[in-house]
Symmetry: C2
Subunit: 194 residues, 2 copies
DNA sequence: AATTTACTTGAACGATCGTTCAGATATGTG
DNA sequence: CACATATCTGAACGATCGTTCAAGTAAATT
């Protein structure tokens, strides 16, 4: 039963990821989850309640992945691999290149307060994960000690957002790889002084 | 009459920019343009036809602005100002921080082929504008001669996308300014070798 | 002034939207 | 086996969606 719930949320994630909140109709959801409307509403309250769970699971999952990057012996090398697997994937999984959170931000005004809150809190949480990675990379001397942690975390999250928008339009994987290299390059070099 | 058309498209732009293609209902559009459904359909064919004109006008407008950056004596300084005015604006114009094209990309699958084409062609066209700016900045010696033009254009467009997603969440303008400085810094410095 | 042409109007269409709820079915308990 | 409880079902609701079109109004032409 608890498994069925997580499984349902996972299926809903694919749908919302592909079509967005507004673009995913209840009938799409019913089909994707193989559940009838009554069951969905009994379990998830409403469409937004389901969306909230989707976002939370997505964030938790992303957090785990970023955490294991931070826990690596060479966080910066792991970060490169993380970028690659997130941004380069077969065509039928292309929708995953877009970040679900960023996609949701573009339709934030159309989502209710509950979903909105989940999205924004998710962004903050993942920002912390990026900060952890940078701190860890300073410890391992992969990054300079002078790297401004909080700012670099914002910057890194930013780069990820830009990269994902870039990757979704790209057919050429090597262009994406080059872009990843530039990000890591700029991360390791000197930062502008205030 | 021709003026009225451009004026109508401009009003539609604000709506689509705020609410997206899917999120803007025909009744919202009717209200924004102060036109009845029949007139709208007579003039623009359908919702997607209007959207296409909106995108084309948006791209043309953006192109002009980027062109005048390239035509400046100091393109890189102008670019900084361009970023600032695009990303920092009063709260009631916050919706403008998001790029209309990028916002449209996130709902590309829900827009018809006509609108889709306009969006993708717009991205390519603006990419060329970024390339022009970089070429011009090399001429003025603001950028190193070794700067890889096409790649830097992709990268710059990317940065712009990331910055806009960042700016829309940000309340602190100085954080945005710092991020702009980092972009310009990374642009002028050495690029990673292949 | 009469007639043609160009444009606007707004009620109405069928489709789809998110949501509800009375009844059917399955599961747990004594 | 009888009964209580939890879960699921699917027809149906009112609202809203994009769109159409016969009728009305304004402008241009003769």
């Amino acid at each position: 039963m608890k498994y069925a719930q997580e499984d349902a949320v996972e299926k809903a994630t694919i749908l919302f990821w592909k079509k967005g909140f507004q673009g995913s109709g209840m009938r799409d959801i019913q089909q994707a989850l193989d559940m009838r409307p009554g069951s969905i509403y009994a379990r998830f309250q409403n469409k937004e309640g389901l969306f909230k769970l989707v976002v939370e699971q997505y964030v938790a999952h992303s957090k785990d992945k970023l955490q294991s990057v931070a826990d690596s012996d060479t966080p910066l090398l792991s970060l490169r691999e993380f970028f690659k697997t997130a941004l380069i994937n077969p065509d039928e999984l292309r929708y995953m290149r877009q970040c679900l959170l960023v996609k949701s931000i573009t339709e934030l005004e159309l989502i209710g307060d509950v979903g909105k809150k989940a999205v924004l809190e998710g962004m903050v949480l993942l920002n912390n994960c990026f900060a952890n990675i940078i701190e860890k990379a300073i410890e391992t001397r992969e990054l300079q000690e002078t790297t401004p942690v909080a700012f670099a975390a914002d910057w890194l999250q930013n780069q990820f957002v830009g990269l994902r928008a870039f990757a979704i339009l790209q057919t050429d994987n090597s262009a994406i790889e080059k872009m990843i290299e530039k990000v890591l390059y700029d991360l390791t070099k000197q930062w502008p002084t205030e």
